[in-house]
Amino acid sequence: MLIFNCPHCGVAAEETELSGGGEAHLKRFGPGCSDADFEGYLFTRENPKGVHFERWRHAFGCGKWFIAARDTVTLEVFGTYPAQTSEPPREIFDRISEKRPGWSWCNLSGEA
């Protein structure tokens, strides 16, 4: 079972306390955008085998959204941070680079 530390209330929350919100850091497109951009925003997903960033809501806790960095193969959690940001904080980058040298995800990548 996945366990995340909620960055808002500090609770170590189990999977059953949380609801998953899918891929994080999606760039939103709306009226006036191209069909390809809109399709990408709505449907196309990174779906990596390895390092992944995704949104979670502490649904049966403080109710707030956060983002988790996680490995989809080992289920190792690299860290969590509040959702009000467009990219991961430095320490999450460093922690992933330490454990998965040369990782990449969408347009993000760590040092090898």
Partner: protein, 415 residues
């Protein structure tokens, strides 16, 4: 290939001490070049290869597999076969598959143990009653034989069921008498044997590490057993479709998540059909060995763990105990997971791709086993001729166009 028959058993028993049986298929090593390379030796990949050979005479084909033949979702599902879908495009391909299952053992000369024992989908809310009545009417127009039946007939067919569940009483059911189950491994083995007999190479433990291109066109694949050149490449890898697409240079509207199943200890025959209870979310059938085969839920997040989250088991088993109180005393023997590939509209993708010569067959999500022969039939036609009526609606461009095949909302099924 020596044919299997009652006569062959007698011959082997009386004259050969059973030493005359051949290997069912050759464990081949790759040649430098093929007309068609199929990535993924699961049911869908092998069926594609089989119908390429049988229907189009294309036999210079390799089916390459990272692990072992049929070791992915083909060997991990709950073996249910049905075609009671709402949308015309889905009903067409699933009904094609179901009808091919009826004659598969004779066609392949391999006993796939297809058992048309009937599939029952319980209606446990007023909404489900209306939804399934609508599906039954749609199926009548599509030529798929289903009917909406009363609770009394449900009890006649499944005596162990509890009709007045504390939360959700059974109000009726959608009944497809010609649906059922088959031996999932045998489907993969049967197709593999037939492909091998046509001269195709099935190459196991051969992992694709890259896709090579010649301009806009595919030229082959890099694998752990060296480069294999090909004219056309079929990607049929379920949960790993995103990884293969990335190697080929395009992206997919697909997400991968574990779906799990479990089986109980074997017991005497108690239920001779498949029952799906989608409101409480559990489905169950009894295998020929006597085990109750139980399908569970999908994890709500991307993962490649092939086991699934523990709490889903509790959720599924709790639902089944409401529906079938007698299963509360059963011990569960085994649990496992498969990585299912979910698209935005929960319908599959059988399509050309942005790279010339590459075709993709994926997105079967939680319901691929039942579709294996129909999927192979249509996808082989698409790869051989460039178009297929069965696959026409399942192009990957439907997401940009908003032309969804919306089964997840329309049928509300566990697939």
């Amino acid at each position: 290939m020596k044919r299997y028959s009652a006569f062959a058993i007698v011959r082997e028993a009386l004259m050969n001490d059973h030493k005359g049986w051949e290997r069912a298929w050759r464990n081949a090593q790759p040649k430098k070049r093929y007309d068609v390379v199929i990535v993924g030796a699961g049911g869908h990949g092998l069926a594609t290869a089989y119908y390429l050979g049988k229907n189009f005479g294309i036999t210079n084909v390799a089916v390459i597999e990272k692990g072992w033949l049929g070791g992915g979702n083909t060997g991990r599902n709950t073996t249910i076969i049905r075609s009671n879908y709402l949308q015309d495009a889905s009903a067409a391909i699933y009904e094609k598959a179901r009808s091919l299952y009826e004659t598969m053992s004779q066609d392949l000369n391999y006993n796939v143990m297809f058992s048309p024992r009937g599939v029952m989908m319980l209606a446990q809310t007023e909404h489900e009653v209306r939804g399934y009545q609508r599906t039954a009417h749609a199926n009548a127009l599509q030529g798929v034989q289903t009917e909406f039946i009363s609770p009394r007939r449900v009890k006649d067919i499944v005596p162990i069921i509890n009709l007045d569940g504390p939360r959700y009483p059974v109000l009726g059911a959608l009944w497809q008498e010609r649906g059922g189950t088959a031996r999932h491994d045998a489907v993969a083995w049967g197709y593999a044997r037939a492909c091998s007999a046509m001269g195709m190479d099935i190459i196991q433990q051969c992992e694709v590490t890259g896709v090579t291109r010649d301009g806009a066109r595919v030229s082959g694949v890099d694998t752990s057993k060296g480069h294999i050149a090909c004219e056309k490449l079929g990607i049929v890898v379920a949960g790993h479709s995103g990884e293969l697409a990335r190697m080929a240079g395009f992206r997919l509207p697909v997400e991968s998540a574990p779906l799990q199943a479990l089986v109980s200890e074997p017991i005497k025959p108690v239920m001779d059909c498949v029952v799906m209870a989608n409101t409480v979310h559990g489905y169950m059938s009894q295998s020929d060995k006597g085990e109750m085969v139980i399908g569970g839920g999908t994890d709500s997040y991307n993962a490649f763990t092939q086991r699934g989250s523990f709490h889903h088991i509790e959720h599924t088993v709790a639902a089944l105990i409401e529906t079938f109180p007698m299963v509360s005393r059963l011990k569960m023997l085994r649990q496992w997971g498969g990585i299912v590939d979910m698209t935005g509209d929960r319908s599959p993708i059988l399509s050309r791709t942005p790279v010339d010569g590459i075709f993709i067959n994926c997105g079967w999500g939680t319901g691929g086993f039942k579709a294996i022969p129909g999927s192979g039939w249509g996808f082989a036609e698409l790869m051989a001729t460039g178009k297929s009526a069965l696959c026409a609606e399942f192009g990957m461009d439907r997401f940009a166009k908003g032309r969804f095949i919306d089964e997840s909302v329309a049928a509300g099924v566990a697939h």
